[in-house]
């Protein structure tokens, strides 16, 4: 018995650490200046799933879509108790907007199959759209409970949940399976468990292993490397340390709905704000000081 929860997680640039270095002169994001982190509300989504499993039993599958480096957040899920981790990694998925992303995720969720809950964070801190969760529910034909705060009651195939409605809350009842988007006020995400960390820090995808083998066996022949790779993959699989890696073919994705082709969102204009001055300017708290400041702001068109 128990419930199978799928948790969608995302690796995002830490927008809380935005500085003058964040945007390059050409208007694109300077990823090197922003550390990649676990999207904060996705940690709350994972915690919501873990609470369901703690109380009712079951399993948790964490999925993410992104570059190979995003397996870091999947390992973080394993450290906290996820049973299985899957990354959807495909160049053809690059530049996907929320519509394309939710389409690809819906294909992956269907491939995983046999689930009771899909938990998503309310929104990611890089785009702040809060669209992927609801769109994913629509594509999967699932009822959705957004702004989830807590489980009130879970009885066989019916879940009663409290959601935040801004100036209060309401309790909704939904038949399973259901998709839930979770707020950061829902719970206190648990820390990584040290025992699981020691074990699952070694969890890798096949492609990561391939890079590892290439680095370890520089002088070997291709054949030797292929053999070694197969051996290492098998060892990881036996130790439950292999992170599944799927591409769009694996999830049977229709390419016209993926990546740039599947993304109707167009960026109309990007304003590049390059901070050329650093530090601050002290203004004397006098009539003259304030007048001088206002004059300066009018001249550079910040005001008026």
């Amino acid at each position: 018995m128990g419930y199978h929860c799928i948790v969608c997680v995302k690796q995002v640039p830490d927008t809380a650490r935005v500085t003058g270095e964040t945007m390059k002169a050409d208007g694109t994001v300077n990823r090197a200046a922003l550390p990649a982190i676990f999207n904060p509300e996705d940690l709350h989504a994972l915690e919501a799933a873990l609470e369901v499993r703690d109380q009712y039993g079951g399993t948790i599958t964490a999925i993410t879509m992104g570059p190979l480096g995003a397996t870091k957040v999947l390992r973080e899920c394993l450290f906290r108790g996820a049973d299985r981790a899957i990354i959807i990694n495909d160049r053809r998925a690059a530049a996907s907007d929320t519509l394309a992303t939710s389409y690809i995720l819906s294909r992956a969720v269907q491939k995983i199959g046999d689930f009771d809950f899909v938990f998503c964070g309310r929104q990611a801190i890089d785009g702040d759209t809060a669209q992927v969760g609801p769109q994913l529910a629509e594509k999967l034909g699932l009822p959705q409970v957004t702004y989830y705060e807590r489980m009130v009651d879970l009885n066989e195939r019916t879940a009663r949940m409290r959601r935040n409605v801004g100036n209060g809350w309401e309790v909704l009842e939904a038949k399973l399976p259901v998709l839930v988007t979770v707020l950061d006020t829902a719970n206190e995400p648990r820390p990584a468990g040290a025992r699981k960390m020691m074990q699952f820090k070694k969890a890798l995808t096949a492609q990561e292993l391939e890079r590892e083998v290439a680095a370890d066996m520089k002088d070997a022949t291709d054949e030797q490397r292929t053999e070694e790779l197969a051996r290492r993959i098998e060892t990881l699989r036996m130790n439950r340390l292999l992170i599944d890696q799927w591409d769009l073919d694996d999830v049977d994705g229709d390419l016209q709905w993926c990546g740039l082709a599947g993304s109707p969102t167009k960026v109309h204009r990007v304003q590049s704000i390059v901070l050329t001055k650093d530090g601050f300017k002290a203004i004397e708290p006098t009539e003259a000081g304030v007048r001088g400041m206002i004059h300066e702001l009018i001249v550079d068109h910040t005001l008026g």
């Binding site: 982190i37 206190e188 648990r190 820390p191 990584a192 468990g193 040290a194 025992r195 699981k196 960390m197 020691m198 074990q199 820090k201 130790n239």
Partner: protein
């Protein structure tokens, strides 16, 4: 996200400087664990193990910064609650803290993996204690009481280990050590709580214990008199007592600080107990070992409180403007901040040196007991090592507990001073730090008792032997070399003072103990900091300041010792005046 390991340059510097690879190898029996329960998370080599240590500290730093610290003020206000039925309900924040630590798998920090522990060295555990204390000083008492699990592991039989250790490791139980009684505090030989066997041979405990930290916990190791005819420490044994209806909390103490830590008066009403280890070894062997670990834990607690108070003071002095400038630019404030920082780094150098020696000591003993080398020469070497580590540990543990706790009281006091009127108000956390700090130089043995223990190490050869080893190290940097020369001179003068003290008997030794220990500290830690200074400009400045100012104190202390003054004892009545009438 904030992290108390990542944001602490000094802790990270020490983590690298101490180089835990050697300790990892001995702690992990050369990485031979390949099967059995727990092997799935065993490290394969020293790099893997040290990487685990760093990651564990990152987890502890995360829990401390993002969970525990935010609740500290509320925990301080709420305290814990004594119920009518003699049970205790922990405050909500305390319960959440314990839950987070258990979820992070940090409650079996040093216990073997076969029971679900992390098998980390004491050094790493001590760093975690420091970070937990920085977040909430009171919590480190409960966190540090995993020492109960260590004691069961070290001295209990297999049945006890199998029954209790997994529960500790999974955070299902917390422990307590019940030693103190109304008439047996510093003098534990006077413990009187009765242990007797009923007709079925079941041990039962009857009496009262006082000031028991977490006495409301689940597993209470209790020191009791099993041999009514033997009046001293040899009549005491150690018993494991499960919380139950015959064990009641009669009173929960109201304290100056560490409000989150429940301090209980316990009434034992013929409570059933299980003997730990052998009879009569309770105090002289088991409790002494447990206490040593606990003292190191208090040194770490003191460091954490000081770190937290210092950060508030440093920030405040930078942003607070008076007389048209930041107050950190006022000479008196600047010097206070510098002294706070230097003394903190001194305490850290000493505490983690002590922790490292503890690890070498514990592991050497473990190897000798469980898997002694067959080669005779190697066996002899190990035995010799074990003896000197044990002796050195016997000096360093009280020394670092003494220094760190006194440093903590001074630093948190100075932090209040830097903040001035604001520091005295509850708007800032430094008044809490000062209240929390004040217990650190009292419990687990007062500073005065630590000195009694440490001074015997200083006079007994451990100090000289270790400093000789330090002196063999050459420094190519001229500045460092000159500082070392100073330390060599300092040692010479200390040895002279030791000779003088020895001629004047034990009372004289105890009268001037603090002065001698303080002088020895300058030389010992001076050498430790010199080693660090090779790698860091900041440390080079720290060691310069420490040795320059410390040397003046050393000179002054040694002069007082060499004066032969005994007035505090010989003219006590005259100087202290009469006992005030009621």
């Amino acid at each position: 996200m904030a992290n108390f390991f990542e944001d602490n340059d000094d802790l990270q510097f020490l983590f690298d400087h101490l180089d835990l690879h050697e300790i990892a190898a001995i702690q992990e029996d050369d990485f031979t664990m390949t099967d059995g329960p727990g092997s799935e998370y065993a490290p394969v080599d020293a790099d893997d193990a040290v990487d685990n240590y760093r990651r564990v500290l990152m987890i502890a730093g995360d829990v401390a910064a993002n969970g525990i610290a935010g609740r500290a003020e509320q925990v301080d206000q709420d305290g814990n609650h004594l119920n009518d039925d003699g049970t205790v309900t922990l405050g909500e924040g305390v319960r959440q803290n314990l839950k987070s630590l258990a979820q992070a798998d940090l409650m079996g920090f040093t216990l073997p993996r076969s029971y679900g522990g992390l098998n980390c060295p004491t050094t790493v555990f001590t760093m975690a204690c420091e970070m937990v204390a920085r977040a909430d000083a009171s919590l480190v008492n409960l966190f540090g009481l995993q020492g109960i699990g260590e004691t069961i592991y070290a001295f209990g039989d297999d049945t006890l280990k199998k029954e209790y250790l997994p529960k500790f490791c999974h955070g299902e139980v917390t422990g307590a050590m019940a030693l103190t009684e109304p008439d047996a505090g510093s003098d534990l030989q006077a413990v009187g709580l009765k242990a007797w066997q009923d007709d079925d041979g079941q041990w039962r405990l009857t009496g009262v214990k006082r000031f028991i930290t977490n006495g409301c916990g689940d597993v209470i190791l209790t020191l009791a008199r099993s041999e009514p005819d033997i009046k001293d420490g040899r009549g005491l044994s150690l018993f494991l007592v499960d919380q139950g209806p015959r064990l009641k909390v009669r009173h929960l103490e109201e304290k100056l600080g560490i409000h989150g830590s429940p301090t209980c008066e316990l009434v034992y009403d013929d409570v059933p107990g299980k003997l730990v280890g052998e009879r009569q070894l309770g105090l002289i062997r088991y409790v002494m070992s447990l206490m040593n670990g606990a003292r190191l834990g208090i040194a770490a607690q003191a460091l954490g409180i000081a770190e937290s108070a210092y950060r508030v003071a440093r920030k405040y002095a930078n942003s607070r403007k008076q007389f048209g400038q930041s107050i950190e630019q006022l000479p008196a404030v600047a010097e206070m901040l510098v002294d706070m920082k230097v003394s903190m780094e001194v305490a850290r150098a000493l505490t983690y040196e002590c922790a490292r020696i503890c690890d070498l000591d514990n592991n050497n003993q473990r190897v000798l007991e469980t898997n002694p080398p067959t080669d005779k020469a190697e066996l002899k070497k190990r035995k010799g090592d074990a003896r000197s580590y044990k002796r050195l540990n016997g000096m360093l543990t009280p020394m670092c507990k003494y220094y760190s706790s006194e440093m903590c009281v001074k630093v948190s006091n100075d932090a209040v001073q830097v903040l001035g009127g604001s520091g005295y108000m509850t708007d800032y956390p430094v008044e809490r730090h000062l209240r929390d700090a004040r217990i650190t130089n009292i419990y687990e043995g007062t500073s005065q008792l630590q000195i009694v223990a440490a001074v015997r190490g200083v006079c007994g050869g451990s100090f000289e032997k270790r400093v000789d080893e330090f002196e063999a190290h050459e420094y190519f940097d001229k500045g460092l070399h000159e500082l070392k020369t100073k330390l060599v001179e300092g040692k010479g003068r200390i040895l002279e003072a030791i000779g003088f003290i020895k001629q004047h008997g034990t009372n004289y030794m105890d009268l001037h103990g603090r002065r001698l220990v303080d002088a020895a500290l300058v030389v010992y830690v001076g050498h430790l900091l010199l080693r660090q200074a090779v790698k860091s400009e900041h440390k080079a400045a720290i060691v310069r300041r420490f040795i320059e100012t410390g040397f003046e104190t050393l000179t002054c202390n040694l002069a007082q010792i060499m004066s032969g003054d005994t007035s505090a004892m010989s003219e006590f009545e005259l100087l202290a005046g009469p006992v005030p009438a009621a």
